[in-house]
């Protein structure tokens, strides 16, 4: 099947407006006859559910957690971008569009990104109307801050809990519709498979996680909003339950999977402390507004620090290497995430890492604390030369901005970041790759849509900070509810889809067979045993730096691990009870397939772009080197029985508006 991105004709700035005016609509009376399934209740899924229900569709929404409010969007910290230009610092729709394309290293679609920038301002209006308590200044107006890879302040925030506040806003919009009976909410339900009837998405098989029962749910369209697949690395900043299964199941039913190797490794996470580690914790990028990143200049100092003989605060200013400020003077500590992560790895690989494992750098707030302290002392008419007073006043300012993050750090690491620099190291955080979708956010399966992090569409090879929340809400509130109508307009006479159809029966039987096989396997190793090995392969060979040899090994090793998993995995309990280990087994089975496709995709893309760094493709200074002539395309993989047989389709990326250039933050 050829890829048709269905990008509307006409000038870039008019495409979305024109498209909205021209697509088919469903009348209010007919919307009542149409059912839509939404899988996932993060920003994308919750906002889509709410809006579809408001429009009049009958919505059924599924989440595996005990409540839709738990979805992992809740953990997003720093903020959400919008081209409001409230600061009057030169921002515009075009600049947000441009920054996003450039930040994504010229591997995303112009039309999609421009639409995202256009609707970004509506999101802020909408959220404020819903009572989302964004940060405000003393004049009562909304405050902004700056994020990596941009030179304006366009990020709206609610302390370090922006994701929580936005998600609770979307959750409240959903609750209103649940109360009205327009959304039927299925908590603790996991989508196990997609059901196709006559080639169209017509429903899902879901498992009630409380009693283990398999359920058939039909609809006229199915929306996948199940998030990203960072947990393929085992250790990531994703929630423990975050998984690829819904996206992977639709891939196996015919949806192409795009750019699986495009992963974001976030530069500021709390370093790994030991073997028992179950997940990693992010320290928001917003901290790079006020924190300076450094390692010691002298290896002797590094040694003394690791042995506990020297404290970082004792190292003189001239003996510190603020390597981001040194290498990238224009953007300094606010370079994009991929650049910051690789620079940290470079220093640590050279032996300058500052903790026992050698994998940590400092994020230091001392300079900001002093700067803010002096400012406050001046405003209050106090002594600006009183060091203790200045420090206290400065700490109060930092506490007001990042208090919850500092508290979180202290609880995990047992050090006080107001007094000593934080230690940070890159960790897997977000996946730009995902299900391939056209301009309407429809996958290659008619009637099956993918939104939010689950799709591949807007961030290219690297996502800018505070853009994930923007995309999730844009897709859910303002894009999908329009575009889905174009498809459903032809379905108004379909009537309710019968769940007794043989297609449902067959899908249910195959799910049952897989689950039975797990509990009857009586193997020797736990699910986590396999997940940890997979994670190590992925981190070592498909992580921040990739090469041909490692990727080939990864492919072979993951395939062998998958075979061993099916032979020897041990899943306790039965299929007819609350059994978290069984749910985990089904998710890890999918990661074991995705991981192989991931490595295959990384091997195929013999260039460095954004978060994908191939050692074979770099400049003499070690910066990423793109190959625009050969790789200006989206890799869309078609499932052919197993990952190694997946067929590559290329969607060429045409840049009409933007001149493709080498990305420079120097």
């Amino acid at each position: 099947m050829a890829l048709d991105s269905k990008i509307p004709k006409g000038p870039l700035t008019d495409k979305w407006t024109q498209h909205k005016s021209n697509i088919n609509l469903v009348s209010p009376a007919n919307k009542r006859l149409i059912d839509v399934i939404v899988v996932g209740t993060g920003l994308a899924g919750a906002s889509a559910s709410a809006t579809l229900a408001e429009l009049g569709y009958n919505v059924k929404t599924f989440c595996f957690q005990d409540s839709p409010r738990r979805a992992h969007s809740i953990a997003a910290q720093g903020g959400i971008n919008a081209a409001k230009n409230y600061q009057g610092d030169g921002d515009s729709t075009y600049r947000l569009f441009y920054d996003t394309i450039k930040g994504g290293d010229y591997r995303s679609r112009e039309a999609n990104v421009h639409r995202l920038a256009e609707v970004s301002t509506n999101i802020i209006d909408q959220c404020v109307a819903q009572g989302v308590p964004f940060a405000r200044d003393y004049g009562g107006l909304l405050d902004n801050r700056s994020f990596g890879g941009v030179l304006v302040s366009r990020t709206f925030y609610a302390k370090g809990q922006t994701g929580q506040q936005l998600l609770l806003g979307a959750y409240s919009a959903m609750n209103r519709q649940i109360g009205r009976g327009k959304i039927k909410m299925y908590n603790r339900h996991e989508m196990m498979d997609l059901v196709l009837v006559d080639g169209k998405a017509r429903g899902i098989i879901a498992r009630n996680l409380v009693n283990g029962k398999l359920e058939r749910h039909s609809a006229h369209a199915v929306v996948i909003a199940s998030g990203g697949y960072g947990n393929v690395f085992f250790l990531s900043t994703n929630a423990m339950g975050s998984n690829v299964s819904a996206a992977w199941k639709i891939h196996k039913k015919g949806a192409h999977f795009a750019n699986p190797c495009f992963t974001q490794i976030h530069p500021t996470c709390i370093p790994v402390s030991g073997e028992h580690q179950s997940k990693l914790t992010l320290m928001s990028e917003s901290l790079r507004n006020d924190g300076r990143i450094w390692v010691p200049k002298k290896l002797d100092d590094v040694k003394a620090i690791r042995e506990g003989k020297l404290k970082p605060t004792e190292i003189a200013e001239e003996d510190r290497d603020y390597y981001l400020e040194r290498r990238y003077p224009a953007f300094g500590n606010l370079v994009p995430r991929d650049v910051a992560s690789r620079a940290a790895k470079e220093r640590c690989d050279e032996g300058y890492g500052v903790n026992k494992t050698g994998e940590a750098v400092y994020l230091d707030f001392a300079a900001s604390i002093e700067r803010y302290g002096k400012e406050q002392a001046h405003v209050k008419g106090l002594d600006e030369n009183d060091a203790a007073l200045v420090k206290k006043l400065g700490q109060d300012v930092v506490r007001a901005k990042y208090g919850n993050l500092f508290q979180m750090y202290e609880k995990i690491v047992d050090q006080n970041p107001y007094e000593t620099p934080m230690m940070i190291y890159p960790a897997v955080h977000y996946t730009m790759g995902g299900v391939w979708v056209d301009y309407n956010l429809m996958t290659s399966i008619p009637g099956c849509y993918a939104i939010g992090e689950a799709n591949f569409s807007d961030h290219g090879a690297n996502r800018l900070g505070a853009s994930a929340l923007m995309q999730g809400l844009a897709d859910g509130y303002f894009v999908l509810p329009y575009t889905i109508g174009d498809y459903l307009a032809e379905d108004i006479r379909a009537g309710t889809i019968d769940t007794d159809l043989p297609e449902f029966e067959k899908a249910e039987a195959s799910v049952k067979a897989q689950l039975d096989a797990f509990v009857n396997n009586k193997g020797t190793h736990t699910v986590d045993y396999y997940h940890k090995i997979l994670g190590k392969i992925m981190w070592d060979k498909c992580g921040m730096s990739r090469n041909i040899k490692g990727l080939k090994e990864a492919i072979t090793e993951i395939k062998a691990l998958r075979e061993d998993f099916y032979k020897n995995v041990k899943v306790p309990g039965t299929t007819s009870e609350f059994n978290p280990e069984l749910a985990k087994a089904a998710r890890v089975a999918d990661f074991l397939e995705l991981g192989e496709l991931f490595a295959k995709d990384a091997l195929e893309r013999n260039e460095s772009c954004g978060g994908h760094f191939r050692e074979e493709s770099q400049t003499p200074e070690g910066e990423a080197l793109r190959d625009d002539e050969n790789f200006t395309f989206v890799s869309a993989w078609e499932y052919k029985g197993e990952p190694s047989k997946a067929k590559l389709h290329k969607e060429q990326l045409d840049y009409e508006e933007i001149e493709v250039k080498t990305r420079s933050y120097k």
Partner: protein
Amino acid sequence: MNLTLKVWRQANADAKGKMETYQMSEVSPDMSFLEMMDVLNEELIEKGIDPVAFDHDCREGICGMCSMFINGEAHGPDRLITTCQLHMRKFKDGDTITIEPFRAKAFPVIKDLTVDRSSFDRIQQAGGFVSVNTSGNTQDANAIPIDKHDADKAFDAATCIGCGACVATCKNASAMLFVSAKVSQYALLPQGKVEATDRVLNMVNQMDEEGFGNCTNTGACEVECPKGISLENIARMNREYLYASLKG
């Protein structure tokens, strides 16, 4: 560290539960409490014993899913954190740790330490929202300036993670802190004022229907709340409720 764990085991909602004892050795002080539980479960699976079911997801203290009652306290001995952020350095070698689910009539046990908190969702569905359509055609976000003081207070109330520690802690299993946090968030903002009367009446009514107990102002909920939601919110909700009742 070597530890003795006494863990509540209950096969399902209808089964009779009891405490079981497990020995743990070589526990690192840097482990989080849930990582210690992961190790326990790995050991149980290898021995052919059913692992302990417990809710958890984000493991960074924000999703509100983890919910253990540890040594008689919701989320254990530390303050202003959830169970997932509790670290083993808070315990000593040789300690005995008692682990139970969040108990309340409105939080029935599903299995072991996992409880059903959908009653919280139903309270939110009764009125925890502003009735604005998600059309994007609202007025400009900066059209209504909001006093920073009020905005900050609304934010503080809005940081409730819906974990249920307040209910589990309260001797009456009251949900007043949870409900008042949402009522306060909207009561403090102009956007929420329009529906304030219906909201507080409907949410309180749903809270009573779910079987939560009454508030007797002991303040235990505030102490155990991982987000430090203030008792002030309960006072504000009481005022809102009184006003709404008189008006209604």
